[in-house]
């Protein structure tokens, strides 16, 4: 039994933690949240310099060809840092979509740029309230162009291209397209979201030039597979954030006095934080399972990803809201940092589909694989 990260991954984790503590304390998150910039350029440059955008890309495309466990390690630390950068859009979604379905030419065109940080990618699926299905997609492709509106698209204002899910008359009802976002038939308007430390746009494609990614009519299956993989990485970000929230709450409770004693000595606070610890531990262990399934491309990936995703979503929500509660009134003020985790918890929980959607996916996957824990 070796259900642990190895020495190499632990070294990467230490490096990542040091860099993020140095370059992205909450001051940086606050700067993006309050300012005009869409993301932290200085942090992004540092991340690119470290090669984190190249981690899972093969060497032939200028990547580092490390395993997916390395991505899990980075995801946890980025989640802990509430990093205000387009990493998940560009790395977990756009890069992985190209690796999964890209032609040789598409890989050659984009992967070296993604690896070197010369391009940022994103993924555009949602169009309306409620769970997106192929039948409800209105974005259409015609003679190499796309027409439709995607809302919201994470990091759409800074991305050079988007992988767009469009309706198809064939197969599973959807197809993926690569759309150049600098084209003139593309307009992007900023959308106010719950977490302004990550920018989002409404993307209007009006006959925008695009090229197909993967086969026509296989876009929905590709999206599901891509989201299963990404769910593991999102879950690691959520676990990192949940851990940060718990530590913040604990540290504050230790130094805050009320009724003549640290509030950390009250069982009402201790039990709340013990609950958070339990949720975080279950989520983390499920993330280990997800990491293993992602790294080995195991048949259980759908089950493992959904398990990690559901428990990490619940853990981060709980820890981030109870962190505010533990801080009392101060936790509700703009000047305190609790808000960053609370905002990010909700953003991450809906970014690639809600908790309820992943609960449904989990049971469906269990039924299909006939696995029981």
């Amino acid at each position: 039994m070796n259900f642990e990260f190895d020495e190499e991954h632990n070294l990467l984790r230490d490096q990542a933690a040091r860099l993020l503590a140095d370059k992205s304390d909450f001051t940086e998150v606050r700067a993006v949240l309050e300012g005009e910039a869409s993301y932290s350029k200085s942090l992004w440059d540092a991340v690119v310099e470290q090669g984190w955008t190249a981690v899972a890309i093969p060497e032939e495309y200028g990547g580092l060809a490390m395993d997916r466990l390395a991505l899990c390690v980075l995801a946890e630390e980025l989640g802990r840092a509430v990093a205000p950068i387009p990493y998940s859009s560009s790395v977990y979604l756009a890069t992985e979509a190209l690796l999964m379905a890209g032609s040789q030419a598409q890989k050659e065109a984009w992967l070296p740029k993604l690896a070197a940080g010369d391009a940022i990618g994103t993924f555009a699926l949602a169009e309306r309230h409620g769970r997106q299905t192929p039948q409800l997609i209105e974005t259409r492709a015609a003679s190499g162009t796309l027409t439709g509106t995607k809302l919201p698209v994470a990091d759409g204002d800074v991305a050079d291209f988007a992988i767009v899910v469009a309706a198809s008359d064939k197969g599973d009802g959807a197809s993926l397209w690569i759309a150049d976002l600098s084209a003139s038939n593309v307009s992007k308007s900023p959308v106010t979201t719950l977490d302004p430390s990550r920018s989002h746009v409404q993307l209007v494609l009006d006959g925008a030039p695009a090229e197909p990614l993967g086969a026509d009519g296989e876009g929905w299956a590709l999206t599901q597979k891509l989201f299963d993989q990404a769910a593991v990485l999102f879950a690691w970000e959520q676990v990192g954030g949940a851990d940060r929230a718990l530590n913040m709450a604990r540290d504050y409770a230790m130094q805050r006095y009320a009724f003549g004693r640290p509030i950390a000595s009250f069982q009402a606070i201790k039990h709340k934080l013990a609950n958070a610890y339990v949720k975080n531990t279950l989520a983390r262990s499920n993330c280990y399972y997800g990491a293993w399934a992602l790294d080995t491309n195991a048949a259980e990936l759908a089950v493992a990803a959904a398990t990690a995703r559901v428990s990490a979503t619940q853990a981060f929500y709980y820890a981030s809201k109870e962190n505010i509660q533990t801080h009392g009134g101060m936790g509700f003020t703009w000047e305190f940092d609790c808000q960053f985790l609370y905002r990010r918890a909700k953003l991450l929980s809906v970014n690639i589909g809600s908790e309820a959607a992943w609960q449904e996916k989990l049971i469906t996957a269990v039924e299909q694989s006939n696995l029981a824990a």
Partner: protein, 414 residues
């Protein structure tokens, strides 16, 4: 990251598997024996072959093996391992305490038959007035020549009626603060003056006893630790208790509820198609999976010879309430027949009804949910202990339910 054994582990697993296959008692061997006799048969066989108490040293007839070896043997033992249950307290808690505090001669005398199952031990800790607040116990020990004279009452003693020996914490000095006035012993359960009465639980079963001490004499040579040091000795026992009480297999698990949801109906459709049912099942799946992979992390640490992290302490705190919720929900799926406990007339032989009635005990035994949460907060998260009004107060002056002036305690409601 992988789930594979190391080469040595694989060798040991193969060896264990072969031995277990060849030596598991047959139905004929077990026929006519009561549960205790069956348990003793299997335990002695394991001991003779070097598979009992795998981590104990060779001088007590054991293997001197690693925690990982013990885990592997337990996994291979499977169902027949349930026969080890009656020895769990003795081997898991009394044994390590004896190893730390008994004399060499005592260890030689008592540890081998404890490992071989020829002698069964029980734990005499909890009292009517000392449960979560164990150190508030009142059973007295008074020195008389070379002996101590014990008077008082213990409760929740598993297996007292079939045990040969017991470990016992007593109050030897009521004039000092509660943790300082305790003294720890072991004694024969056949000692004159011991009276054992079974407790009937809400489930109707009787798994525990009350044990009364009426001028029971224990030689001073059977004291473990110094006079007044009983609390420190108890900590040794309790540290081992937490390692031996795991998630608590209650029988109600995801698979059972999942199966039930396929055979019960909501609005003329199988319940498994109902999204509310699916959401609940998903959460339980996540909890079970989380516990399973937490134990894998623990095993990985053991496998490389490290001490497992604190994450291993969450099993009972997650597992017991989960089983209760599942049982409650499963009976709702049965709807109006959910109340039926007759195994002939209900689903899955009344598993959920039985779990519903048994699980409140598991949420209390070996540390209540609340105590477990305190332990996580204090030992894992480093949060301070609650302020204790009895701190530094002589035990005899500490307020109690029947308060010191003899009045009934104030009632919250009539």
């Amino acid at each position: 990251m992988d789930f594979n054994d190391s080469p040595e582990e694989a060798r040991l697993r193969e060896e264990a598997r072969k031995w277990i296959r060849a030596n598991t008692p047959t139905d004929q061997e077990l026929a006519g024996l009561d549960y205790i006799a069956q348990s003793k048969l299997w335990q002695k066989r394991k001991y003779d072959a070097g598979w009992a108490c795998i981590r104990w040293p060779e001088q007590y007839g054991c293997r001197g093996g690693s925690a990982m070896e013990q885990v592997i043997f337990g996994q291979e033992e499977g169902k027949v391992g349930e026969l080890s249950g009656v020895f769990a307290i003795g081997q898991g808690m009394a044994g390590p305490t004896m190893m730390a505090y008994a004399s060499e001669a005592q260890k030689k005398r008592y540890l081998p038959p404890l490992a071989s199952g020829e002698e069964i031990w029980c734990q005499l800790f909890s009292e009517p007035a000392g449960g979560s607040d164990l150190a508030a116990l009142r059973t007295t020990a008074v020195r008389d020549g070379d002996d101590w004279v014990i008077n008082g009452q213990k409760i929740w003693t598993s297996g007292a009626h079939y045990s040969d020996y017991g470990i016992l914490v007593t109050r030897s000095d009521p004039d000092v603060p509660k943790h300082k006035g305790l003294t720890y012993f072991f004694l024969s359960m056949k000692s004159p003056g011991i009276e054992i009465k079974p407790i009937k639980q809400i489930s109707g079963d009787s798994n525990f006893n009350e044990v009364y001490f009426n001028n029971v004499r224990i030689p001073d040579s059977q004291r473990l630790g110094e006079v007044g040091q009983g609390w420190q000795v108890s900590i040794t026992t309790l540290m081992n208790e937490r390692m031996s009480i795991g998630a608590g297999g209650s029988g109600a698990n995801f698979k059972r509820v999942f199966d039930l949801a396929q055979s019960t109906y909501i609005n003329d459709r199988p319940a498994i198609e109902d999204s509310a049912v699916r959401a609940k099942l998903a959460d339980w799946y996540c909890q079970e999976s989380g516990l399973k992979y937490t134990s894998f992390r623990t095993m990985s640490a053991l496998s490389r010879g490290a001490t497992p992290g604190p994450e291993s302490s969450i099993g009972k705190l997650v597992g017991a309430p989960k089983a209760q919720e599942m049982a409650n929900f499963a009976m709702d799926l049965m709807d109006m027949t959910g109340a039926i406990r007759d195994p002939e007339l209900t689903e899955q032989e009344a598993l959920f009804q039985e779990v519903y009635m048994a699980i409140p005990g598991l949420r209390i035994a070996g540390g209540t949910d609340e105590i477990m949460a305190n332990i996580i907060a204090e030992r894992v998260l480093g949060m301070p202990q609650d302020i204790r009004v009895d701190k530094g107060v002589a035990f005899k002056d500490v307020p109690t339910s029947a308060s010191s002036d003899g009045r009934e305690p104030a009632r919250v409601c009539a």
